[in-house]
């Protein structure tokens, strides 16, 4: 009883108790930090997944860093990241603003937009694989030559097909984030702007966009760091092919570890992936984070 009262007194004094973070922290340490250290340790060993793990110094690192496939995987990942961002960010921002409106028909459309969010990546990939099949897909099926491309087998096209399918799946998620962000903006801002004679475009550029600054940063972080984790969709859709055209870094890591059975090299790739993800996340936080504690509502 005495304990409880001191605890609650302290909590009142300094915000919520630090113990609230304990369950999350335990999960994070057990499922993220410890495996991460394990991967770091494995990257200095030779292991084929079956036999004994033997220490191997920096041999795995040397193999990974001199392998041109690693560079290829990094380039493919960077391309997918950049194109995904360019495609997804404007679409989800505009859709988010659109669906934030109160009209009934917009609510109905919003429900439709969110359907892809309910599907698992594997299901999306299988569906698109069937639709884009060069012999049995939509194009040949309806006799539309323009759609009867070898979408997934052409090394030049496939990257954009992957970007498109990823966008189809993830735009609804980011739309949802923007919709929430837009609804937080007080209506009084727009009323004041209207009185001052600002049109729709001006309102969007001078009220909506600045007010969404932190939403944009959040969504962009998820988009950019998330594109380091695209795996299931691409694995089912193209398996990294044709050739190495869509062999993303996480896919390259998986194939190295579980197909070529080189766990040492796969662990080194895993460490590279984590470092890139952390650096990108930090950079994006920096971009808008200088006065992160300032209220958004004071805005422009």
């Amino acid at each position: 009883m005495a304990l409880t009262s001191t605890a609650s007194r302290r909590a009142r004094a300094a915000g919520p108790s630090g113990w609230l973070a304990a369950p999350a922290l335990v999960f994070f340490v057990v499922f993220a930090i410890i495996p991460l250290l394990g991967v770091l340790a494995l990257s200095f060993t030779r292991w084929d997944g079956l036999s004994e793990i033997t220490l191997d110094g920096v041999a795995s690192w040397a193999r990974v860093l001199t392998d041109e496939l690693t560079l290829n995987a990094l380039v493919v990942t960077a391309k997918i990241m950049i194109f995904s961002f360019i495609v997804q960010a404007p679409i989800s921002l505009l859709l988010g603003v659109f669906t934030a409106g109160g009209q009934k028909y917009r609510a109905a459309l919003a429900v439709l937009y969110f359907v892809p969010l309910l599907l698992s990546s594997a299901a999306v990939a299988i569906a698109y694989k069937a639709l884009l099949d060069p012999n049995f897909g939509v194009g040949p099926g309806f006799g539309v030559p323009a759609l009867a491309q070898d979408w997934l087998g052409n090394s030049d096209l496939v990257l954009f097909v992957v970007v498109f399918v990823i966008a189809w799946q993830f735009v609804p998620f980011h739309t949802l984030i923007y919709q929430g962000g837009v609804r937080q903006i007080p209506a009084s801002f727009y009323e004041a702007a209207q009185i001052d004679g600002a049109g729709r475009v001006k309102q969007f550029l001078h009220i909506t966009l600045p007010q969404l600054k932190y939403t944009i940063i959040t969504s962009s972080t998820l988009m950019v760091v998330g594109s380091l984790a695209y795996f299931d969709l691409v694995f089912v859709l193209t398996a990294g092919g044709p050739g190495y055209s869509t062999r993303l870094l996480p896919l390259h890591m998986y194939l190295t570890g579980f197909k070529a059975n080189d766990m040492g090299a796969a662990s080194a790739l895993g460490v590279i992936l984590v470092v890139i993800g952390l650096v990108l996340a930090l950079l994006l936080q920096r971009l808008g984070g200088r006065n992160a504690s300032a209220s958004q509502l004071e805005g422009a």
Partner: protein, 438 residues
């Protein structure tokens, strides 16, 4: 205060119950003879799935104390899963395999049981198999795996209907094969279907060409890890021929995005979009199920791989999978191991099981089945495959299974690049020579 305590207790109880439910989901299997300590078996989906399921079901019915828990996985997914599971000590009691380098890696890691004593104690088990097939379960003269289904040589299938349409005959030489390419293209039909995204179907072309041009010794040297073994001229010549066929438009549009695991490659053949396909003996079972009318009405043709002019390989030599095999995990409990061996002895290749395999369109690798094959509605195909397997002077195991997993993976990736014309045969040879001994 009391209410708060009560609520905390309720939350804890709910959380505990949830955890229990989750745990139960993880281990509960179907009821009956199967319990948590039962022997476990992982099989492959596809042609032999029903026969295996039936065999295990009737075993479980008759042996309630030695139940076997059976699960099925798709081919590519299985190959990844089983290795990871075995490495983590979570593998099944029955390890399904192909023999060769993958089996050797299990043997080297001490993961599978030595079955030679079992064979010595049970000579009738040894006697039931075709000896040439049984040999594929041996590593350095010791048996670690026993055949469990059917002979699966790689066969050149063709669609008789489209051959009639263009008035052509199936190719018997490589030159005839190349000459057919423009004929079919002119008729708007793809000459060859290919499941290129799965990568292993590409390998069938290389395996047969090297066999026809250089004979079985070329790959035997490669498998024996002789330095520079890939430099044999037959390898580069085969790769050149493959690229010539790709250049001529021999493979179906978009072959590099077609997955064999979804059977899309066979579908091209039986829908008449492609004239021929080089694939394993097992796809006959798949087509029998997916395109029963096509197979039953005799429109499916099959023949051996063409000869290559100047090649030294015996045209009767074949490549493919002599059979699949069961190994017994050395990490299983003694009761599980005993159940596994008892099943191998009495549950497999029973009269009923053999008949089920034949009925599914497969040739079981056991002796004395000629009469049964003759009596089957699929006798044309079955006797063809049986004859192929029985008369072949050499039956080379699929290379990706014969080599070590690391070599196999590098080979499939590089061969994919050959089909996509991203690398030259010389680059392939030097990349592969670098894997010798790995």
């Amino acid at each position: 205060m009391n209410i708060r305590k009560l609520r905390a207790a309720a939350t804890a109880a709910a959380a505990g119950a949830l955890a229990l439910t989750l745990a139960a989901c993880g281990s509960a299997g179907p009821g009956g003879a199967v319990s948590a300590d039962s022997a476990t078996m992982w099989g492959l989906t596809g042609g032999n799935q029903p026969a295996l399921q039936k065999s295990v079901d009737s075993w479980n019915k008759a042996h309630s104390d030695q139940g076997i828990k059976l699960e099925f996985f798709a081919n590519d997914a299985y190959k990844t899963k089983v290795r990871t599971a075995v490495g983590a000590g979570q593998g099944p009691t029955f390890i399904y395999g192909w023999g060769g380098g993958v089996l050797k890696s299990y043997v080297d890691a001490g993961q599978v049981e030595d079955l030679s004593t079992f064979l010595k104690d049970n000579p009738e088990v040894k006697d039931r198999y075709l000896p040439s097939v049984l040999k594929n379960g041996e590593i350095d003269g010791t048996t670690y795996a026993l055949p469990n289904n059917n002979a699966q040589p790689i066969v050149l299938y063709y669609n008789k209907e489209v051959f009639e349409k263009v008035g052509a005959q199936p190719p018997t030489t490589w030159d005839e094969l190349m000459a057919l390419v423009p004929t079919f293209k002119a008729a708007g039909i793809a000459p060859f279907s290919l499941g290129g995204q799965s990568k292993w179907p590409n390998l069938m072309w290389l395996e047969y060409l090297v066999e026809r041009i250089g004979g079985p010794q070329v790959f035997a040297d490669i498998a024996a890890n002789k330095p520079g073994a890939w430099s044999h001229p037959a390898v580069a010549e085969s790769l050149t021929k493959i690229q010539e066929l790709v250049d001529a438009g021999g493979f179906v549009n978009g072959f590099s995005s077609i997955a064999a695991d979804s059977s899309a490659d066979q579908a091209l053949l039986y829908t008449g979009k492609a004239a021929m396909i080089l694939q394993g003996g097992w796809i006959y079972q798949g087509m029998k199920k997916d395109a029963a009318h096509f197979v039953d009405s005799g429109k499916l043709g099959f023949t051996t791989f063409p000869t290559v002019e100047g090649g030294v390989g015996d045209p009767k030599n074949i490549v493919g999978n002599p059979s699949n095999f069961w190994s017994v995990s050395s990490k299983a409990t003694d009761a599980q191991k005993k159940a596994a061996l008892d099943y191998i002895k009495d549950g497999m290749f029973t009269e009923e099981n053999t008949q089920d395999l034949i009925a599914s369109g497969a040739v079981p690798v056991v002796k004395g089945i000629e009469a049964k094959l003759e009596a089957s509605p699929d006798k044309d195909f079955l006797t063809f495959v049986y004859g192929m397997a029985k008369d072949a002077p050499s039956f080379t195991l699929s290379w990706d299974q014969a080599l070590s997993p690391a070599q196999g993976d590098t080979m499939l990736s590089n061969l994919d690049q050959i089909f996509l014309k991203k690398i030259t045969p010389e680059q392939f040879v030097s990349a592969m020579n670098a894997t010798i001994g790995k």
